[in-house]
Amino acid sequence: MTEPPLRTVGRPDRRIDAGEKVSGRAVYTTDIDLPGMLHAKVLRSPHGHARIRSIDASAARAMPGVHAVLTRDETAAIPMPVYGYFIKDQPVVATDKVRYEGDIVAAVAAGDEGAANRALAAIRVEYEPLPAVTDIERASDPDAPELFEEPPIGIVPAYGQGASGELRPRRNVCYRFSYETGPADAFAECDRVFEDVFHFSRMHHLHLEPFVCVADWSREDRIELWSSCQNPFPVRKEIARIFGIPENRIAVRVPYIGGGFGSKNGCKTEPVALALSRLAGRPVRFCLTLEEGFLTNTQHAAILKVKTGVMADGTLVARESEILLDSGAYSDGSPLVAEKAGYRIPGPYRYRHIKTDCYCVMTNTAPAGPFRGFGGTQTSWACESQIDMIAHRLGIDPYEMRRKNLIGLGEPFVPGESGMDSDLREGLDLVVRELGYRRRDELVNDGPVRRGMGLAIGFKDGGGVNKPALARVKVSTGGDIFLQCGTAEIGQGAHTALAAVVAERLGADRSRVRYMPVDTDHSPFDQGTNASSAVSVMGQAVDRAALAARRQILDFAAEKLDCPADELDLADWEIRRGNEAHPLAPMVMGHFGGAGWEFVGEGFHKAENSHAAPLEAPCVFWEIGWGGAQVAVDTETGQVTVEKLFVTGDAGRAIHPLVCRGQDEGAALMGLSQALFERMIYDGSRLVNGDALTYRAPLADDLPADFRSVTQEQGHGPGPFGAKGMGEGGMLPVASAIANAIYDAVGVRIAELPLTPERVLAGLAAKDGG
């Protein structure tokens, strides 16, 4: 039987948030304005590492317009004034030490930001500077100065087959994740073993809406918080723990979020704002500047040492890796990123033996945390560069080398894991066709300008680990639909996609669906908007909730019409039975009375726990980004021009094609930018380009002349209508595809990002000299 045509899913209708966003009416946390609201600003450490001898805030406290001052003297009264995901190591304000330039030392709430800043200037802090360790190598020295002397407060989650974790395995390492499968002696059987080292740069998310919250703790027994945050329920839990307040006294509300890319996970501005609000007895708005954003959360720089054993015909056999992530001064989400980096380093290939150790190295720099790709960007950079290098060393075309080793459709990634849900070869062949890769010998070189092409396949497990999802769909007497779930709209289009799923299941126009505000007092529990999980995980709960509501409506109508429910269909708030149409509103009021009724469906989803799976539950879906680039390298200047960039993801089923396209293209441009120029530059412990002007974010002018994406719909996803998640995959292959293209053009391998003209020239000089 053929399925009836879909009326909403797959159509590029206006996004559900289009009207509000193009008219300027959309409300973000920055727009929240409460009566009597104060404004917070913080004093930040000028030292990378120092002991605090004394803090004298008496002058600030006496200043007119100052309503509250927060220092370690005040936080001493807070039950647990530290936070973090696995490890509680970040203080609300510094207590004994500061650990990076930008660490928060004191905070002021005043009538406006100017008054708050003037008060901060009156706070006297006496520091005893300590030696700082500002990169992975220095922090890893056995004699390096130690960021944390006291034992960590933290947990290691349950892991499954082959995986393990450890808190503080050595000095200045807050977490280790390890994974091993298959016999270690597999290396002995290999014809060749290659060891290579890759360096990964560090970016800031540069979300345009700053880190911001408005906290109202003016009444002792009630906290109301509006926050630009991706995971309101975990933030509620963290606030409850920090301040010793029951969770049912705390409401966290998330309006539209002006971008995050991972950074807005976990506590950021909230603890300071709440502490000030309690002290002042007034609501407090705490909005960081964009410059302060750089000091709040970043991507992880990394060193990746990869050892790969291979047969002469290119068959991959074994891979051992050591990954060192620069986690900055506080653990934030680093242990989770370490899990993922450690898990993803094999890439989408088949091996007999895999062994990985990933370490979170603490340095006196800004805390690193979740960033689009979540460890997968780092590992795709190393993995896809090395596959190319090995292919060239063995005299095999990199395309053939990949094709030979890719995991097949349905094949588990590692023992105990779920099967691959994309045909990886299909995507690779699409890139090869779109790029014209087979005709790359025909590329023309213009004098000193040499051209080449490169391929890469980015890879990550998607949908989070062991993540539950709950959704509720309500339908009123008149057929108006309310969708309640905790997925925040951060730009990714989740509200549009999830509303489309509901509309489709209930035979309604999408305009009948309202996505209810995300509010921990009313929304069903959710762990957070992350890991490309909105459609792939929450989508399954939403789909079930809509189907449950539909089932109730049809059962109700079947009873009224005295017929089996399976004879009935639901469309446009009418019950259709053959050629008959029965409007539902009168039927509902006839039964429930004139005041009417709401049908309520709930839907739940969670992957089964499984100790056979290394991360305790099988991966929800595999997020793949295939990419290809054509570059022109000027051998006189070292300038790399990306002439063509093609990326493709597999949406499984594109619930909204333009949203999928926008996710892939936005991610790909972030990858291009990281490949060529975008990075945080540190001089010792000082960030030297932490502002919009000197931090080079990509602009429209930076787009390659030929920049395209294709959204595949292979149909194997676990989400509604066969959908998978989107949003991170498009970034993963880009840097390595460009590095591989540079090698193809000029025979220079650059193993460190970004791929600057200086590095190209140095590579050319070494090649000529060597």
Binding site: A18, G24, A110, L206, L208, A667, A692
Partner: protein, 165 residues
């Protein structure tokens, strides 16, 4: 109310076609002045250094970073913000093109991008691709990868030309 370092004075200008008078100070930026109004928060602040363009408004039809202009600079001048584009709730052709092409994601840069496009199309109703890229290249969008925005600008130009007899 917090104490002010500088005294307030009255400022008169044309906001979205209508004369307005607002009390302000010499230190107030145009963006902060606009955002004081309940219906003025479509003008969004991001970098506050005249780099990202999120706060773009049109002053006498010229795109300006309202974060880095003093309010007093607009005395007697015409200021156009995103709130003034919709005619009785109906989206302008540029707004409609951004909506229909999904030329936004988080929406934080969107008002600035739309006003930039309005200014471009006022000057050049049929800009070529290089011109569009050049103009859009003055604002930052961190979400879209720009292609959908460039397509929306071309679509908006088409719509505006078709709407003009």
């Amino acid at each position: 109310m917090p104490e002010r370092l500088d005294p307030r004075f009255d400022l008169s200008f044309i906001l979205n076609g209508a004369p307005v008078g607002m009390a302000t100070t010499t230190a107030t930026t145009l963006a902060d002045l606009l955002r004081e109004r309940r219906d003025g928060r479509g003008t969004r602040l991001a970098c506050e250094r005249a780099v990202c363009g999120a706060c773009t408004v049109l002053v006498d039809d010229v795109p300006r970073a309202s974060c880095s202009m003093f309010a007093f600079e607009v005395e007697g001048r015409n200021v156009q913000t995103v709130e003034g584009l919709s005619d009785g709730g109906e989206l302008s052709p540029v707004q409609a093109a951004f909506a229909d092409n999904s030329a936004f994601q988080c929406g934080y840069c969107t008002a600035g991008m739309i006003l930039l496009t309005e200014a471009l199309l006022t000057r050049d109703p049929d800009p070529d691709d290089a011109t569009v890229r050049d103009w859009i290249g003055s604002n930052i969008c961190r979400c879209t990868g720009y292609s959908l925005i460039l397509e929306a600008v071309r679509d908006a130009a088409r719509r505006k030309r078709e709407a003009t007899p």
